[in-house]
């Protein structure tokens, strides 16, 4: 108990400090990370893009950890996949090719030549579609519905997602098209609320503020974050106390921008190299391991923590050879209710106790001083 009392004060102070330091990122949320969105149907969980025969397969998934039956809250949202077919991509930088599939030399110029916009009904059927920038859009096959979550990650095993699967004829793209830059966005009332580019980027807490920005604005935002978190890291790390060193480590691991982060979050796909992450993404790509190999290991760490041995490197249900490729959904089941517990009563209680203890100390000192003065006066008398 005494030990607890010794630790509770610094732990509470540290917690409050970290809470104050933490970006909206951590409090707001994203993707497949462990943080809940208020409206999970806006939450993009996956983007896949790969060739199959004379088609390009495009899959956008939303609504993580789904087991609940319909109706869902899909109607307010517009789900859009953007493609930039003209901004140059280069492949000479080995580290960027390994991490991102290539290099967009001028990210400020990223724009959409193609948009595929879908609106869904609350029963997860297609309500309307709008396809711009592609030839013969009627030839594009679309599936919308609840399917098994294809992400190879134990937390989402035996869970479903709402899938939008598209098969786009290569002939719909400009003749000779070799390079694609693509990303997905969710909009509500015309305002962007979520973003996905390459897997396991905007899922990271340090990138959360990218979720409401188009890729052309990502690099300036990442530069801003880089300065902000470097300043905070160096400040906290400049103190000798182990607790603050630990806090600095927390900032460095979760929030500080890395030197290889200063690129826009998009998916790159090219026909110049074999397909598969990070050159587009197959359903079978184990991106938790692949992104760990180039620097971001939190998903792999979590898959060891939450999963069994050996670590799963394939999905929990086999993918289908045929349309719509994603496995059949898991049976519906009640979802655990979101936590209703709040930290604020604890914080308020801590502040009140702190004030009472402070008042007792001051009052005690005051009485002590008064007692001393009276004693001296009696002695003089």
């Amino acid at each position: 108990m005494k030990k607890f009392a010794i630790w509770i004060f610094p732990v509470l102070v540290l917690s409050l400090a970290l809470f104050a330091l933490a970006p909206r990122a951590i409090r707001a949320s994203d993707h497949a990370d462990p943080i809940n969105l208020k409206e999970p149907e806006s939450n993009i969980t996956d983007l896949f893009f790969y060739p199959k025969g004379d088609q390009m397969i495009l899959i956008l998934d939303v609504r993580r950890a789904l087991l609940a039956p319909e109706p869902y809250n899909l109607a307010p949202f517009e789900y859009v996949v953007h493609m930039d077919l003209t901004t140059p991509v280069t492949y000479g930088n080995d580290s960027e090719r390994a991490r991102y599939g290539g290099t967009v030399a001028n990210p400020e110029r990223i724009h959409d030549d193609v948009t595929i916009s879908l609106r869904l009904n609350n029963d997860a059927t297609l309500k309307e579609k709008s396809i711009k920038g592609l030839k013969n859009p009627d030839a594009i096959r679309i599936f919308v519905g609840v399917r098994d979550d294809p992400f190879i990650f134990p937390r989402f095993f035996k869970k479903n997602t709402i899938a939008m699967v598209m098969s786009i004829p290569m002939s719909s793209f400009p003749d000779g098209q070799q390079d694609w830059i693509l990303w997905g966005s969710t909009y509500k009332s015309g305002k962007q609320v979520d973003h996905v580019g390459r897997s396991n980027r905007t899922q990271q807490a340090r990138f959360d503020s990218l979720n409401t920005l188009p890729p052309s604005q990502h690099v300036p935002e990442i530069m801003r974050l880089l300065k902000k978190w470097n300043d905070r890291f160096t400040f906290v790390n400049s103190f000798k106390e182990p607790m603050l060193k630990a806090a600095a480590g927390f900032i460095q691991y979760l929030l500080q921008i890395r030197k290889y982060d200063v690129v826009a979050d998009v998916m790159i796909y090219t026909t110049r190299h074999p397909a598969g992450f990070p050159n587009g993404r197959f359903l079978t790509d184990d991106v938790a391991a692949q992104t760990c190999a180039t620097g971001d290991c939190i998903l792999q760490d979590l898959s060891f923590i939450e999963g069994g041995w050996p670590r799963a490197t394939v999905n929990d249900k086999p993918f289908l050879e045929d349309w719509p490729y994603l496995a059949e959904p898991w049976p519906e089941a009640p979802e655990p209710p979101p936590s209703t517990k709040s930290i604020w009563p604890y914080i308020i209680a801590f502040v009140i106790v702190d004030l009472i203890v402070g008042w007792l100390i001051v009052e005690g000192l005051r009485r002590l001083v008064l007692w001393g003065i009276r004693r001296r006066q009696r002695a003089v008398a």
Binding site: E108, N230, K259, V262
Partner: protein, 283 residues
């Protein structure tokens, strides 16, 4: 460039490789900026490496916030900080605007160093600070170790779509190399770099100024600034060049060091020379 002019510029000023090769083992370490590219396209992200070494061959210097007094880029009329990550090389990142030539400037806070007397004098000779040796002799200090505090002032130019007058203006470093014209200008008179060395924003006479070619560090030249702080080099080849100079002054009586040294450098990419006027395109 007329060859006679080149010879006139070069001959009195050049200390050749052979001359430098006769000097003692290296003691001093130059410091310069090495960006990922010297001619970024608009919008591209440029990483800014700091290097310490000799003869334009250096080791990476990670970012160390407490050691940085100023680290900025001036481009298209505004100045922004060069952001970076503590303990990481490259030390900085910036997004190039690409319009006009950008000027990156770095100033360090001072750091102390103490060298035995002989090593200290070797290094003073190497960087052309013989007057300090004479001064130490006059003060009867030649046997004393050299206690100094050194400051680094590095600049780099990123070629833009057009030249910039900002290149010819001091950025306010304590010791600074300032070109008279933008050396990244492909239309400039052929490969002659003229400039000034400024100490405390005033021309410094008699400073040794050296130039090294990145692709072949054996190609290097040296000259001394004239009474107006001016210097000139005939740089024979296009490529990335390092121009550097070291100045030393007596430290104040409140300093724990006896001397303060100031290490200025300028890196840039000299474009391929334009054909001289009247030359015909053979096509």
């Amino acid at each position: 460039m007329p060859s006679a002019a080149a010879a006139r510029l070069a001959a009195p000023a050049l200390l050749t490789v052979a001359a430098l090769a006769t000097m003692g083992p290296a003691r001093a370490h130059d410091f310069w900026i090495e960006p990922s590219t010297f001619h970024p396209a608009a919008g591209t992200t440029v990483t800014i490496g700091l290097r310490a070494g000799q003869n334009f061959v250096g080791d990476p210097v990670p970012r160390f916030e407490r050691g940085i007094e100023r680290f900025v880029v001036r481009q298209d009329g505004s100045e922004q900080p060069v952001v970076g990550i503590e303990n990481v090389d490259p030390a900085g990142f910036l997004q190039a605007r690409g319009g006009s030539t950008a000027v990156i400037a770095y100033a360090s806070t001072g750091a102390p160093i103490e060298l035995p007397a002989a090593q200290f004098e070797d290094y003073l000779r190497q960087v052309g600070l013989e007057p300090i040796i004479e001064l130490r002799a006059r003060r009867g200090e030649r046997a004393k170790p050299g206690r100094e505090r050194f400051y680094r002032y590095a600049k780099a130019l990123l070629t833009g779509e057009r030249t910039s007058a900002a290149v010819t203006q001091p950025v306010g470093l304590a010791y600074e190399i300032v070109p008279d014209t933008d050396p990244t200008d492909p239309a400039a008179p052929q490969n002659i770099l003229r400039g000034r060395v400024l100490y405390a924003n005033k021309p410094l006479a008699g400073a040794l100024v050296e130039a090294y070619l990145y692709s072949d560090p054996s190609v290097h030249f040296a000259t001394r600034s004239d009474a107006g702080g001016a210097f000139a080099f005939a740089l024979p080849r296009a490529g990335i060049w390092l121009v550097k100079s070291v100045h030393m002054a007596r430290a104040s009586i409140f300093s724990s060091a006896d001397w303060e040294s100031f290490w200025a450098s300028l890196t840039f990419e000299l474009p391929a020379a334009r054909p001289p006027p009247g030359a015909q395109d053979p096509r």
